[in-house]
Every structure is written in C-alpha cells, then in structure tokens.
Subunit: 346 residues, 2 copies
C-alpha cells in the first residue's frame, strides 16, 4: 500500500490530473506553488474574484485572444509568449498602452508539469518584457483528449493615448503603407515544425511585444492613421480589411515587401503564399506620405523594426481592391484567404 | 458535380468546420452573419483589434473565467449564459458595476451550427439581462476531439463603486454571514443531467447575473465587508477562504442554510455534500451583525434573493477554522474540497 501511494503521488507530481482543475485544494496548490511565485505582482497577489486597477481618466482599450497553437513550443517562442504578445499587440495597434492581462488556462489532463512550468516561465518573461502585469486568471482541466495539452485565452486592458486616432476611415489616397519588418516568419515556423522540416532551425517565429516599438513611432509625432498586426490572414487579410473599411484601393509592390530568403524558400516548399501567413511581431501602418520616412527610420532604429519598409500606398481606384505589382511587373488581385490552409497557427 | 457542391454546402451550413476558425473569409462570414446581428452594440460593431471604452476616473475591476462545462446545455441555462453570468458575478462581488465583457470561443469542428446559434442567443439574452456589452471577441476552431464541442472564456471590466470595500480582512468577530439563496442547485443540476437522473426536470441551475440584486444591497447603506460567489468549491470553499484571509474562525448552522428538498435529495443520491457543490447565482456576504437584517430583507425583496438567510457568524477562535453546527447539535469541521469530485461543472 505504501508503495502504491508513493506511485500515485509520483504521477500526480509529474502530470496535470483532473483534480488540479476542481477548484479545491489541489487547484489552490497548483496556483500558489507553480504560478504565483513566477507571476507575482500587486494586482494578482490578492487572488480575489477580480483584480482592481487604478486607471487615469480617459478611454481604455479592451481585447481578447484565444490561443490554440500546435505545437505548444516552437522555435522562437511558445503558447505562453504568444498569448501575452498577441494581446499586448492588439492593444498597442489601437494606440493603447497595455496595463493588465488576464490569463485563462484550459489544461488537458496528462500535460507534463515540466511543460506547464516552462510555459508559465515564458509568460512571466513576456509580461516583464512588455511591462504588463498578469492581473487575474483562471485554471480549468479537461479530460485527456488528443494530447493538445493546453489552450490559453488572454484578455487585456490598456490606457488609450490621448492622441491615438487609429481608424482606417482616416486613410486617404496617397497615404503610405508601411510594414515594420519581414513577414510570414511566425506561421512558416509553426508549419515547418509541424511538418518536421529539417531547416526549421533557421526559421524562428517573430512573436514579440510591439509596445516599445510603437512608443518610438508616436515619439516621432507622425500621425498614425491605421495600425494592425497581421496575424491570422496575414498581410493580405489586413490590407483587404483596410481597403474595405477605408473604401479605397490599395496597391503594394512585391519587390518592396520584406521577406527573408529562408522564409520565401519555406513558403515555396509548403505551397503557401507569404502574404497570407500569420505574423506575431509585426504591424502594418498607414501614414500620410509626408510622415512615412520618419516612421520607417524610427522603426529601423528599433531591434524589432530593422527591416521596416514602405510597401505601397492607398489609392482612389474603385472598387476598393488590393493589388500586388509583381517583381515581373504584372498585377495580381490580393484576396482574403478563405480560411482552411493554416489551422491552429496562433 | 452540381449535386456534390450542394451537398458540401449543406454540410458546412450545418456544422462548424476548421475553416471557420482560419481567420479568413469563412471566419468573417461566421462572425458577420451569426454573431454580430445578435450581439450588436457600439463597442463591438467596429470589430477592431480592441474595443474602446469610455470609463469615468477611478478604479476598475478586471476578471476572467474559462468555462468547460459538460453538457453544454442543461436545465436552467447553457455555457453561454454561464459565461456571461460568471464574469458579471466576479465583478459584482468585488463591488464593481460591470461595463464590458470579452468573449473568446474555442469551437470543436463538427459542432452543429444550431447548437452554436442557441448558445449565442443565450449569450445575447444574458448580456441584455445584466446590462453589459459583449465588447470584443475571438473565435478559434480545433479539430474534432471527443465531442466536447465548445469552450468559452470571458473576461470582464467593471467600474468599481466609490464605496466598495470588499476585503475579507475587514471581517471581525461577531459579523454575520449571509447567503443570498438556496445553495447547490447549479452543480447538482449539471451532475444530474450528466448521470441521466430522472428527476432532473425539477432541479434547475441557479445561473443568473447578480448585479441588480447587489445594487439593491448597496442601496441599503449596509457596509458589505466581504462578498464572493460560491462557484467551484461551493459554500465550503468560500468559507475556508474567508477564514484563512480574515484569520478568524467561522461558525455556520446547518439548520439555517437554505437548501431545497429536491437538492438535498439529489445530493444524497449522488453522494455529494451540498456545501461543496457549485452555485452560479448566489453570493456569500459578511456584514456587521447590526446590518445583517436589512441586507437579508433587501435580498428577500428581490427575485434572486427570496431564500436569503443568515447562516452563521465570524468568531475569534483560533486556529481560523470553519465549523458546522449540525441539525443534531454536533459539530463538524468544514474543509475545502480536495478537487476531484466535480469536473467540468462550470
């Protein structure tokens, strides 16, 4: 009997069991011993039903993301870093300064605690990097399914800058379209990892918090009219949204779009269009043409914006379509991906 | 060929497919045609990366809950109503007025669209009932697993009342402990539905938004020192937390705890302790003994508080344990459930 007991304990020490999510003593221990020491901050520590935040008067931004990525860990990041950065970036591209993040974990029974520990470490590191607190959370456990392991949903609250005026309808013909760096690296890295491609070590997800970079852009005094992070749907999805919301056409030049050689090669191998592949550390920005150069220069001075470029401009052709001028000089319509090619990429 | 096409369309019209979560055209259609018309409000409609909220100066409350309940629909509610009420109540028991909810859906491939439609209807109804807007959201689809169907994570932002001072450490010996109604109905309903018990039609989940009831309690002018909704872990879990945080003992009287006959009978059949079974429309409140009667009277005038009662008091015995005085006059220690008995109950 003593032997059996110690075996049972050994298993529950190494893996998540259903009781970790029951809201009882084992849930309390999981949170107190494995989460709180890493995530500790004044908002989270009381573990009340809600966190209480002091906010200055003004507008706040509020957003949420569910993360279902497979595999949980990939070159350049993991589901934890992705969850924090994804929500930080959704606040940042609206012109907000992220203040607090909520963290809801749905863990599959059987997830090794060592994996969970690494992901919580990564969440803590990404929160520090982006200067936000994990203010509140929830943990649930579901029965063993197909080994997916972990789903994370984050929400975020940010303080909107007084001068934030992000609205696609402010775009006008002649405005410049800027991307802050090389595209398609997140999606290609995850797809390559999933396919077991050999060269995956060269390719890394770009997952990163954009708040510091965007702070620098606001510092330039440029009028940022529209900003969005090209995640699901990629650059193509953002530009189609921009054209539809602005009711204006968009023209981009293939030769100006920053893509690394390894990303281009990987996309060809996987049969993917780099324009439709998700990014997790990039922004697409619209500014007046007269502001564009200083925005690009400010990006290039930042580690996350070294490859920033003007990739095209807003036009007044109707209907409001997105066109790509190819390297060969041809023109091709850019459409929103239909939706099937990249499941569980973020 | 025409016949095959119409069959394909028929299938995708009836069930969720992976492409609904790809972030492309099919995701856009799902949101535009099935979610937005029901959830429409000024915060959500722009479908930007973040919703923008005007908040008065002051403190805000921020909370999150992941909902993994099985079955998705049960007598008295469904996962949609549960998600809205759960988050509303987590704000309310901190003394906040709920202002906005985020809604993140992780849908399993194969979920019938008819089920999803009913749950979105229920979300819309619960949001109206509690006067909050679904301000922002996200939708992901995962591969067919075990038929679990749908996970919903909500987060909420509320405006903290100026006079909200919810803190277990403000409890003192002699304070009254109040529960706003009959306990254990949510958890027993879900367990009975899962076990296929015949008498389940008599038992209904108590899932409901508590903001209107708590407004009435603040209207009395009573000093609400501590408030918590006894969800996972039930009344026992809240009282153990209260004793630990207040560093004071708690004594409750079994004869004073409101429990319906059918709930008591169901708990006996299922081998469950009503004190540990989750509730989704109740609050446990601590006030000075001198305030207790008017709080109970205010509860009883409200449809959600008709069975409110004073169930015990805070004491100064050490160590800070929770004791139940049984109907027979005996005493028994109330402990936090360990965690295994009630998986996927909320």
């Amino acid at each position: 009997m003593a032997h059996e007991d110690s075996q049972t304990n050994a298993i529950s020490d190494e893996q998540i069991v259903l009781a970790h999510g029951g809201g009882g003593e084992l849930t309390r221990k999981l949170i107190a011993e494995r989460f709180l020491p890493k995530l500790t901050n004044a908002l989270l520590d009381p573990l009340a039903d809600s966190a209480i935040l002091d906010m200055p008067p003004g507008r706040i931004a509020f957003t949420t993301d569910a993360h279902v990525i497979q595999p949980l860990e990939f070159p350049g990041g993991d589901i934890g870093r992705l969850s924090i950065c994804g929500t930080v970036n959704d606040l940042v591209v609206m012109g907000a300064i992220p203040r607090a993040i909520s963290l809801a974990l749905v863990i599959e029974e059987g997830l090794p605690l060592a994996v969970l520990d690494r992901i919580i470490d990564s969440i803590a590191a990404a929160a520090r990097e982006s200067g936000v607190a994990v203010a509140t959370g929830d943990t649930k456990v579901i029965e063993r399914q197909r080994g997916d392991g972990l789903l994370i949903t984050t929400a975020g609250v940010g303080e909107l800058r007084e001068n934030a005026r992000i609205d696609a309808r402010r775009a006008t013909a002649g405005d410049a379209i800027i991307v802050t760096g090389r595209i398609a690296e997140h999606g290609l890295t995850v797809m390559a990892a999933r396919e077991g491609l050999k060269f995956q070590t060269e390719l890394r997800s770009d997952v990163a918090p954009l708040n510091d970079l965007v702070d620098r852009l606001y510092d330039t005094g440029a009028d940022l009219k529209f900003m969005r992070d090209p995640t699901r749907g990629g650059l193509a999805g953002v530009l189609v949204d921009l054209a539809a919301e602005a009711r204006l056409s968009v023209e981009i030049r293939e030769e100006s779009i920053p893509v690394s050689g390894v990303a281009r090669h990987t996309a060809e191998l996987l049969g993917l269009d780099v324009l439709s592949v998700p990014n997790e550390g990039k922004a697409v920005i619209v500014t007046a043409a007269s502001d564009a150069d200083r925005v690009v220069q400010a990006c290039r001075r930042h580690p996350l914006g070294r490859h920033a470029a003007i990739i095209g401009q807003v036009g007044d052709a109707q209907p409001p379509l997105v066109e790509l001028v190819t390297v060969a000089g041809g023109r091709r319509l850019v459409q929103r991906p239909y939706g099937e090619e990249l499941p569980r990429i973020c």
